[in-house]
């Protein structure tokens, strides 16, 4: 399949650009995760809270990815919905050590799923239960329960635990996402 899709891309039949929206509450580690995926970024250890959003483009697994890293701060969350229209996949990052705010994350997730631009579309959602290195953090199952993922039946989703700082687990989840995207796009 790999060679075939390369061929298609070369011929211009396949959409080169894949838009991925990365959302989640503030401080959940969205920027950290995206940076660890981004081969162009040098890890300088300095990650500041994102203001508004930032767009990263890089190619991975022979796809040209445009990752929109949204800010998770309350006052910027209104911006999320503007990108729902032309998005191909969503990464939802949850801070599994921040138990008290999982209900906020759940609320935001519900709002997103019920948004008119996303409701009808079959978009894969990748959940990262980030910061699994922190003692006393929630397990993947707990996270899934807390977010009420069992009730998400209309979308393709996958949840995996990861560590944004070391990169553990990120690729597992990301490869799943790439696989789905490729399936959909072909």
């Amino acid at each position: 399949m790999g060679r075939f899709s390369d061929f298609l891309i070369a011929l211009g039949f396949m959409k080169k650009k894949v838009n991925i929206l990365c959302v989640g509450l503030d401080n959940s580690g969205k920027t950290t995760i995206i940076n660890s995926l981004n081969p162009n970024k040098v890890d300088n250890g300095m990650i500041v809270p994102t203001i508004g959003f930032s767009i990263e483009t890089f190619s991975k697994s022979k796809l040209n990815l445009t990752v929109i890293d949204m800010s998770g701060q309350g006052r910027y969350r209104d911006l999320w919905e503007h990108y729902y229209v032309d998005v191909d996949a969503v990464i939802f990052v949850v801070d599994s050590s921040d138990k008290i705010r999982t209900c906020v994350a759940k609320d935001e997730l519900e709002q997103m799923l019920n948004h008119k631009d996303l409701k009808k579309r079959k978009i894969p959602i990748l959940f990262f239960a980030n910061k699994n290195d922190i003692e006393d953090s929630m397990s993947v199952a707990d996270c899934s329960n807390a977010l009420g993922l069992n009730n998400v039946k209309t979308k393709n989703w996958y949840i995996c635990s990861c560590n944004g700082l070391t990169g553990d687990g990120i690729l597992t989840g990301f490869n799943w996402l790439i696989g789905i995207i490729k399936k959909i796009l072909i």
């Binding site: 509450l25 503030d26 401080n27 309350g74 006052r75 969350r77 209104d78 921040d98 138990k99 008290i100 705010r101 209900c103 906020v104 609320d107 935001e108 709002q111």
Partner: protein, 859 residues
């Protein structure tokens, strides 16, 4: 680190702490920091079994006293010993009960909780079904009904303790104070008197008793002086029981880890750090001491002291400067004390001559005093006979004692008299110590207090009642702040915690109870203060005035830039401008428990929270009700703001110790803003207008057609009414029935009132000259039926009436026997006349009811 605490703690006089080893309650964390008072006379009893052992311990000691009493006291003292025994048994009983009921209470509470929760939940359902909006606005994070926190809004804060933008919840928990109401009041009074380390009346007496007991235990061979100690105990008996109760309750407190006041620092929804507090906290604030520091300080106001914590550790302890007493009052105390000292010296000298040991202590002199006072010198001398061979000496001593005692009594009465006269003059505000001293029961206790506190200093450290922060010159959260402290001693201080100096001081007329602060200290600020007498003051850098005097006591105050909100005990919220103009009032459906301002993302709106007795919290913006939050229980403490990383969180503490956390949804904010801009909901409600009836239409048609006629008829009638009114006026004027005389020379007002319902009446006349000239040569005449009434002085001369002064004249009137069965109207006319004029100035009619009905009833 704790050294600075220790210094203060030494001053706490005595408590008995008991360690229980079998109790599993010792689950305190490693980072426990205790500021419990380390007692001077520490008596540690470790019991491995249960509380009964403790009781026995104490009982045995009290029994011991009792035995001693029996040995030493004679027949006259029997009564006393009896009461003593009952007292001791009482105390042990009561303490037993408190121990057991404590557990019961907790159980009961829990059960109550459950039932209440059930009912309220069903209520909730009804309510929430009604307004979906409410549901959508909040994310219910958690509700833990059994968290066991007891606190008020003032003792809650959200603090970014580690400077990493995570605002932890900080609560000063009162502990299990409702089960221990006794000690709280006790310790509070102690605290008051103990403000001066030297003064504490109860505790020092307690000390005395302990020391006496020790002495008694030590010297069982009875010396004559030792003998006399025992009656002293009877004098102090009242105090003694209370002090024993106090220490017993202390035990209960220390037993139960949840019972003592604790500063709780949360992480998310669980307590991360507990810091034991020495007493019930009054207020908790957090602030940044200077602009460079990233870690805030938590200040806890307890009694007279502000304890400050930084990075979860004690940092500084601060007390406000003592309130200087009035020189006259100070003088009186000084005199009394020096006099007592002198007398004591004389007395001691005499005793030294007698070579009787152990009389140097003030305790002993006190004890001598009470001994002689009990006038059982014969009995004591008799008992002395057994032990001391020197009869002469004894009688001499008792004589001397009597003399000494009477001298001391003189001093005390002098002091009391001067203090009372100072108090009654009203010019001087006595210090708390003097007031409490005057309130002591009898001279003997007063004497005991005076003699026991010869090193007394009546300059009192003010007791903090409320504490807030004020930012210095920047709005930002981490800008440096000052503390604003209101105290019971009618003062408001602005304190720079950096160096602990008072920057500004306001003297008010009443005890400060509530406070709210707005603005920046360097730019423009104001402090709104609510006093215990219901007055509201406005304080700012260069002015200070009273905004209003409320009829009902205030419960909470919140101030905004130009206005303030006061919640009062009459279920009403009032709004005033800072220029003392009343704006509006909102009536609540049930009593207000607490008021809390909304900070954070709602800068624009004047938002505030009101918690009500009927289990709901209301969010108001100015006068608009924005939200109604039904709660499962009564909310005693609440705070709105940034919690952990969530901007708009509402944290509430219920009366039964539950913890509720709610987050405001992101999109709710805009709806709230909308609501605020929208006109109030009431405006949308349609007024039901009845349909136009046939009659109405006919009427309008008629009015259209005959407009002219109707107008003229109306005008004519109007003039008629005016004419009738004018005539009536003239008539009253002629008869001078008008209560105010119309003669230009003398304007006099007279009110007549008949008082009494029996045969003997009284007519009270209130006469006032409301003109500017002095009225002379007036007299009062009574016009009445002489058959019916007897009036001793039917004419009263009034030589002069000065303008503006109210003259009250009472005239006794007796009803004659003939009048009893006559059924005629019996008015008494009162005429105020001026000599030389024919018509009276004023006339009043007193309608005196007949008493025959009464006579029928009573015979």
């Amino acid at each position: 680190m704790a050294s600075f605490f220790k210094k203060k703690l030494k001053s706490h006089n005595s408590t008995i702490s008991i360690k229980k080893t079998n109790n599993g309650d010792n689950d305190n964390n490693d980072n426990d920091i205790k500021i419990s008072p380390t007692p001077k006379n520490k008596i540690e009893i470790s019991s491995s079994s249960n509380n009964h052992a403790n009781n026995n311990e104490i009982q045995s000691s009290t029994n011991h006293n009792k035995v001693d009493n029996k040995i030493n006291t004679q027949i006259e003292n029997n009564f006393n010993t009896n009461t003593n025994t009952t007292n001791t048994t009482n105390t042990t009983n009561t303490t037993n009960i408190t121990n057991t009921t404590n557990d019961n209470n907790i159980n009961n509470n829990n059960e109550d909780n459950l039932t209440e929760n059930n009912t309220s939940e069903s209520n909730n359902k009804n309510k929430t079904e009604n307004d979906d909006e409410n549901q959508n606005i909040w994310i219910n994070v958690m509700y833990d009904p059994f968290n066991g926190i007891q606190t008020i809004s003032d003792c809650m804060d959200l603090v970014d303790i580690d400077g990493n933008n995570e605002h932890h919840l900080v609560i000063a928990d009162f502990g299990n104070y409702r089960n221990n109401t006794n000690i709280n009041t006790n310790t509070n009074t102690n605290k008051n008197t103990n403000a001066n380390t030297n003064s504490g009346s109860l505790l020092s007496l307690n000390d005395d008793i302990i020391s006496i007991n020790k002495k008694i235990n030590k010297n069982n061979e009875i010396e004559p002086t030792e003998n006399k100690k025992n009656p002293e105990k009877k004098v102090l008996k009242k105090n003694k029981t209370s002090s024993i109760l106090l220490s017993k309750n202390d035990i209960v407190l220390n037993d139960n880890k949840t019972g003592i006041p604790v500063l709780k620092i949360f992480k998310d929804d669980h307590v991360e750090t507990r810091i034991s507090l020495p007493d019930i906290p009054r207020s908790v604030c957090s602030f940044y001491p200077d602009s460079r520091s990233s870690h805030p300080i938590i200040a806890v106001a307890i009694g007279t002291t502000i304890y400050m914590y930084r990075d979860r550790y004690p940092y500084i302890k601060m007390t406000l400067p003592p309130v200087e007493p009035n020189p006259l009052e100070e003088e009186a105390w000084k005199n009394a004390i020096t006099n007592v000292n002198n007398e004591q010296k004389m007395y001691n000298k005499y005793n030294m001559d007698l070579k009787v040991s152990n009389i140097s202590d003030s305790d002993l002199s006190l004890n001598e005093v009470s001994n002689t006072n009990n006038s059982n010198s014969t009995s004591s001398s008799r008992s002395n006979n057994n032990n001391n061979n020197n009869n002469n000496n004894i009688s001499d001593i008792s004589k001397k004692n009597k003399e000494f005692h009477s001298k001391l009594l003189n001093i005390v009465t002098n002091l009391v008299n001067t203090l009372i006269s100072l108090r009654d003059n009203g010019v001087i505000q006595l210090t708390q110590i003097s007031i409490e001293f005057l309130a002591l029961q009898d001279l003997e206790t007063k004497l005991a207090f005076l003699v026991g506190n010869l090193d007394l200093n009546i300059a009192i450290e003010p007791t903090i009642t409320t504490m807030k922060t004020i930012k210095k010159n920047r709005e930002e959260e981490d800008s440096c702040s000052y503390l604003v402290v209101g105290v019971n001693e009618k003062l408001v201080y602005i304190v720079n915690p950096n160096g602990c100096q008072v920057i500004e001081k306001f003297q008010l007329s009443s005890s400060i109870q509530l406070m709210s602060v707005y603005g920046l200290y360097d730019v423009k600020y104001h402090i709104i203060v609510g006093c215990i007498d219901g007055s509201i003051y406005y304080l700012t850098s260069n002015s200070c005035y009273k905004i209003t005097q409320l009829e009902y006591l205030p419960v909470g105050i919140i101030t905004f830039e130009k206005s303030l909100i006061v919640g009062c005990m009459n279920n009403t919220i009032y709004s005033y401008t800072t220029k003392s103009k009343k704006q509006y009032s909102i009536i609540m459906p049930s009593p207000i428990i607490s008021l809390q301002g909304i900070s954070g993302g709602f800068k624009k709106i004047k938002g505030y929270l009101v918690s009500l007795q009927n289990n709901e919290v209301r969010v108001y913006s100015d006068k608009n009700l924005i939200l109604l939050i039904p709660t499962p229980d009564k909310i005693t403490g609440m705070i709105f703001g940034r919690f952990e990383r969530e901007q708009n969180s509402l944290i509430m503490i219920t009366k039964n110790g539950g913890l509720i956390i709610k987050f405001l949804k992101r999109n709710a904010k805009s709806t709230l803003d909308d609501i605020n801009i929208r006109p109030p909901i009431e405006q949308k409600q349609q007024i039901i207008i009845p349909k136009k009836t046939r009659l109405f239409i006919d009427q309008t048609v008629r009015e259209k057609e005959n407009a002219k006629e109707m107008h003229s008829i109306f005008q004519r009638d109007l003039f008629r009414i005016k004419l009738i009114a004018a005539r009536a006026y003239v008539k009253t004027f002629k008869n001078t029935l008008n209560p105010i005389s119309g003669i230009p020379t003398a304007k006099i007002k007279m009110a007549v009132e008949a008082m009494g319902i029996n045969v003997n009446f009284k007519i009270r006349l209130d006469i006032m000259n409301i003109g500017n000239n002095i009225a002379r040569n007036l007299y009062i005449l009574f016009d009445y039926n002489q058959e019916l009434f007897t009036i001793e002085k039917p004419m009263i001369n009034i030589p002069i009436i000065l303008p503006g002064v109210n003259y009250t004249i009472d005239c006794p009137i007796k009803q004659n026997v003939e009048a009893y069965d006559k059924d005629i109207n019996n008015q008494i006319k009162v005429l105020l006349c001026e000599k030389g004029y024919g018509t009276p100035l004023v006339m009043g009619i007193a309608d005196v009811g007949m008493c025959q009905d009464l006579l029928e009833v009573y015979g």
